[in-house]
Symmetry: C2
Subunit: 448 residues, 2 copies
């Protein structure tokens, strides 16, 4: 029987390969990875640049050798799949040994995403970076160490931009963040954005909102960022304006893309072509709240879907799971988190009648040392009473509280139900009514 | 119309009074409280003794004056209800002005619980304390300050005993903890118990397991604890061997008690007598997992039930909510948490076929500074696949992670469902697969 073939050796691909091999050790699994790294923790890169993580090796979860030797996966680094042929059940691969055709029994497209490169003049100057691979993280850290920039520009106020601003500040450089929109971190909503902006300023970051970068200035190396009307001197520029799915390969093979631009998949990760799955940053996933396909390229989604598809390919049909758009970001001393649908317009678009409340509560018993204020915005549907989503921001106790709401979303809980759940209380960790309960209670009252 | 009458001015009573008054400001609410404190944070007392909380006033959530003046509640301190007469819709009260009879429209029995006083010889010696009221906390702190004991004995290794051991160690006294059972913190299961025991020893606490105290030794003040065969010198003894519901008043009035010994109630907190509700530490509540009445006297349960009953009494029928037995305890640098049914025998008794797994995972990305090991035990039902309960223990990131499982229990989620939920990930807060997901995944595999 032809092997399972996987295109792309990161979270989704390697999870699928590992799970399949565990279930069917007698079968062959071939993974083609065009780079030299597999299964690395991309989310750790800002902390490597910051210096909180010493070595890039720390970010590699499982080494290529371990995949080959311990898990029995036929992993081929520096092999780029250049064509998918779903009709013939084969792929065309270019590797160090030349071009080869590899037949497959089942195929997983896990080609990931790439950092969006805006069409600015000067993107190719020395000192201008995106952050989407370990070599890029290494290059940024080297540039910091050897060029010793005094001023850094970060283009984009999304979570990468915020995390990198923190990383740069740790090196005592002046940091400018440029965001086109009126607020940073758009997917987290205005309440979170304003708190994060205040924190950025408190940490000495120069924040330029509503400010579109037009080009990078410099001869060989970047020396400035031109925002039209003003040029800011910088000696390093980090561009973090989002990622886009690597769909070329799939699209060329006639595999259907969804409305989001990512590969359309069913609940088992199957694409429009028979025997071809897609998972990870390249693929859509179903949103637990709207029930619609969505594209939220995050690590857990890739890992979950990869694992489930490995199991399905092994003969045990397993849904890839729904996403809730749950995310958490450390922004200096602040933590910002979100889950579900938090934008009223988006909620209306999905057929809901949204009602929103914002509450502020204490992260611990008010009298307990270290208690910090926590702000929760929670969105509910007036018709069904369901919780649709929430954001949280605060200095303490935010990260894992959002999960409470995430589970409620997956289960379709109403605000009233959530407000009556038996959550943990002890003075060092929570007020008697956990802030999540308080938010649900207030939301339930307003949903009335 | 006769007023709403509430017996007992702590969490359940004052929550009910406040909610009712908010809904029906024109109606009269009379609360009889035999002591001088209302609505205080009993759970904060160990931290007052420890010194982490400066003043007892910090533990008072709302002052009596505020209840009267701002919320319009007719609160009568130093008034003890000595008889309930459900047939006549009246109660008999003894107060500073003598004995009076108070008619009611609806009645809430919120008489709370009391610290169990074991029948030891020497319980009445100076320096022997229980901890169930603010004056007791004050007395312990005073005794520490003025008598300067060098050695303290804590009788009972439940959460009060553990929290008080921590409080005493903060004052640099030698601490002995005596526990009758083979392990401390029985409701948290063996894995947690062993971790807590190790932590106690690491913090210099002398732990005596399987050790029944027989009597306290001393003339006027306590000087020793006799465990039969050995006497340990102590100059202060703290007895924390559990609490029991204050049911005398209800039982004398013919109100039905449940099998747990607490007042039996329906889903709205109604007792067996018409027009009489019960809530808080005196009452049973329905367990979300077993569906059976249970007695878990904790603060949130009291607050929730009081609030719901206030709403019901105001005309808007509101269930008091189910309990999941969710609890969290700080044990020095360790956090221990539980929710649901975690004892296999109890699970079998409730008709389940329990399967249990224990996993160890990192609280953060393994490479992120401050990551700590976290141990989760999760129980599931082989027949339905449902998650039945979980315990967690670790130095970091435990307290609010248990809530994720608590919500899953309330929603009757299966281990498979829970393992596919979209929980928050960022390196400073979690591995890609949150430990809860990992536990659910492993449990699902074993249930499979």
């Amino acid at each position: 029987m032809d092997p399972i073939v996987i295109v792309g050796g990161d979270a989704a691909g390697m999870s699928a390969a590992s799970k399949f091999k565990r279930e069917r050790p007698e079968r062959e699994v071939v993974v083609f990875e065009r780079g030299e790294y597999v299964s690395y923790a991309a989310c750790g890169m800002p902390y490597y640049v910051k210096g909180a993580v010493d070595s890039l090796d720390d970010l590699v979860t499982v080494t290529p050798e371990a995949f080959v030797e311990e898990r029995g996966i036929d992993l081929r680094l520096h092999h780029e799949v250049v064509e998918l042929r779903p009709d013939k059940h084969e792929v065309v691969v270019e590797g160090p040994e030349g071009r080869l055709t590899q037949p497959y029994d089942q195929l997983l497209v896990a080609t990931g995403a790439h950092a969006v490169v805006p069409p600015f003049e000067g993107m190719d100057l020395d000192g201008v970076f995106t952050m989407h691979s370990l070599p890029e993280a290494d290059a940024v850290r080297d540039y910091l160490a050897f060029e010793e920039p005094e001023t850094v520009g970060v283009v984009g106020g999304g979570y990468i931009g915020i995390e990198m601003a923190e990383a740069f500040r740790e090196h005592d450089v002046e940091v400018h963040v440029f965001e086109m929109l009126p607020h940073v971190m758009a997917p987290f909503g205005e309440t979170v954005a304003e708190a994060v902006e205040e924190e950025l300023r408190r940490q000495g970051v120069h924040l330029h909102l509503d400010t579109a970068v037009e080009r990078f200035v410099g001869d060989d190396s970047v020396t400035g960022i031109d925002v039209g009307g003003a040029v800011y001197d910088v000696e390093l520029a980090l561009v973090g304006v989002g990622v886009a799915p690597n769909t070329d390969l799939a699209a060329s093979a006639g595999i259907e893309l969804g409305e989001t631009g990512a590969v359309a998949t069913d609940e088992y990760g199957r694409t429009s072509r028979s025997g071809v799955f897609a998972a990870g940053d390249v693929a859509e996933a179903r949103h637990a709240v709207t029930g619609e396909p969505d594209h939220v390229p995050l690590a857990l989604t890739a890992n979950r879907a990869g694992r489930a598809i490995g199991q399905t390919m092994a003969g045990d049909e397993t849904p890839v799971g729904e996403i809730a758009g749950t995310a958490v970001v450390k922004a200096f001393d602040l933590t910002a988190a979100r889950t579900g649908v938090i934008d009223e317009e988006q909620a209306r678009g999905a057929g809901f009648d949204p009602v929103s409340v914002t509450i502020t509560a204490s992260s611990r018993a008010h009298y307990y040392p270290g208690a910090e204020e926590l702000t929760i915005t929670m969105l509910g549907d007036r018709v069904s009473g369901r919780v649709l989503g929430a954001t949280m921001v605060g200095r303490e106790g935010v990260a894992k509280r959002i999960d409470t709401v995430a589970v409620a979303l997956h289960e379709g809980a109403t605000a009233e139900e959530l407000s009556y759940y038996d959550l943990a209380y002890a003075p060092p960790f929570s007020p008697v009514w956990d802030p999540v309960l308080t938010a649900a209670k207030v939301l339930d009252g307003k949903l009335g």
